[in-house]
Amino acid sequence: MKQFLQIALGILSAIGGFVDIGDLVFNTQAGATFGFELMWVVVIGVVGIIVYSEMCGRVAAISKRPVFDLVRERVGFSAGLGTLIASEIVNLLTCAAEVGGIAIALQLLSGLPYRYLIVLAVVGLLVLSWTLPFVWIERLFGYVGLCLLVLVVAAIKTHPSWGHVAHGFVPSVPSGNRLVYFYFVVGLLGAALTPYEVYFYSSGAVEDRWSAKDLRMNKVTAIIGYSLGALLSFALMVIAAQIFLPKGIDPQFLGTPALGVEAVLGRIGLILAIVGILFAVGGAAIETSFSGAYNLAQFFGWQWGKKERPSKAPRFALSWIAIFILAALIVMTGYDPVKITEYSVIFSVVALPLTFLPILLVANDPVYMGRYRNSRLSNVLGIAYFVLILAIAASAIPLMILTNGGKG
């Protein structure tokens, strides 16, 4: 019973924590541009994050080492430091986008000035991260993030043609500009296969001292949690396809997905959507900041861990504090968080091969994994995804430039 409850809680937390600002932006824009045509990409992305999260969790449980710890061992100091620098830049940009997203959500609820809310957002994140244990942070942001299930209700209430929706799960020749189509393929995959999630997940598994007996729970939580979380991505696309596409609306603001919910469900739906966005993006901000701190500490061999008192792992603590503050400073420059999101997702796609290759190598290494090394299925999927990741990494920046950030 206790294990069932633990799994259920983990799944709920995964659903509520699935969506971040990158998913909000790219799924809404994809739906508003191509309708249901890109549904299949979300499926590919979710299966990919399940495959790699399961591998990361298994590596952490068996080798007792988190992913970034192994990057340096596998690719060497110089390449590892290059990976670290790239990861930290992407983490910082993503954190900045999330902090900006929190401030906008707070502004949509309160009407207070945006710049003050950036400060409030960062102070709130610092206080919560400092005072609450991780399990409570996950619960708070994960459970309140479940307000985003209002997206699913709203999507159903737009009464889409379910036949057309189903058709969207089959890859087909794009109806519009092909370059823009592939830009969104890259963006949606990038929004789903976020490196910070993988780093955070594996570090958390080591902190929680996972062992072989936790592997099944790891698999179940990852599969069910991410799959249900993907419903939110589909819902964003359906709402955008039904409400924005017919009117030629190009979603450029964080309030636009909330407007879509309002159009269907009215005031209550609007408030639930904004609150859901606030907590989903807030949880993501904490994950990104800690992921950055984990990477730094693990690369340089510092003592690390949220479970440690800050004075016992001070460089780790200072790292996540510094990331929050730098993120706030970036957003204070006035640069649009939605634009920052677009850049951070595309740049994270470029860095993806450096993230996933060490995971794949270590998950196959008998020295670290013993009899728990990858099964044939894991390897087939892992290698297939790695090839896909290489392809999208190579094409991400050219597509962004050629399509003017998806505008055509």
């Binding site: 080798s63 007792k64 080492r65 710890d69 340096r72 061992e73 060497g76 100091f77 110089s78 590892g80 430091l81 290059g82 620098i85 400092w130 005072t131 500490a297 690369f299 340089f300 061999g301 510092w302 003592q303 690390w304 008192r309 800050p310 004075s311 792992a313 001070p314 460089r315 603590a317 200072l318 504090i321 020295v367 670290y368």
Partner: protein, 115 residues
């Protein structure tokens, strides 16, 4: 693999691995190794170099990082208890003068309640 084995793959089994002290605390990485007796038949590891300018032999980014850092800490190979997925040391971090960065960093946050 433990340190008494006659063959250890220094490249794959030691270099860039985590250093862990007697109390299980992370105290840096094996950033470089000082070898002696290279002219002889059996070269030996004399010291582990950790942090600071130990990175100068580690490629372009290593030289850049070394230029921004102070001196490395030298840990005699005799202080190594075990080489497995990590390199375990016989003594504690302060005894080996490792983790000085944490000592300095701790002063910045010690004053905050709950630290």
């Amino acid at each position: 693999m433990n340190v008494t084995a006659t063959e250890i793959d220094l490249g794959l089994g030691v270099l860039d691995h985590q250093l862990v002290d007697r109390e299980g605390r992370n105290c840096g990485n094996v950033d470089d190794l000082e070898l002696v007796g290279l002219d002889a038949d059996e070269p030996e590891v004399a010291e582990i170099l950790c942090g600071g300018n130990a990175w100068r032999s580690r490629g372009f980014f290593g030289r850049l990082a070394a230029a921004l850092s102070g001196n490395a800490t030298h840990v005699p190979w005799s202080e190594v208890a075990e080489v497995s997925s990590v390199v375990r040391l016989k003594r504690t971090e302060p005894e080996l003068r490792l983790g000085r960065g944490d000592d300095r960093a701790a002063k910045l946050i010690d004053w905050i309640p709950g630290s």
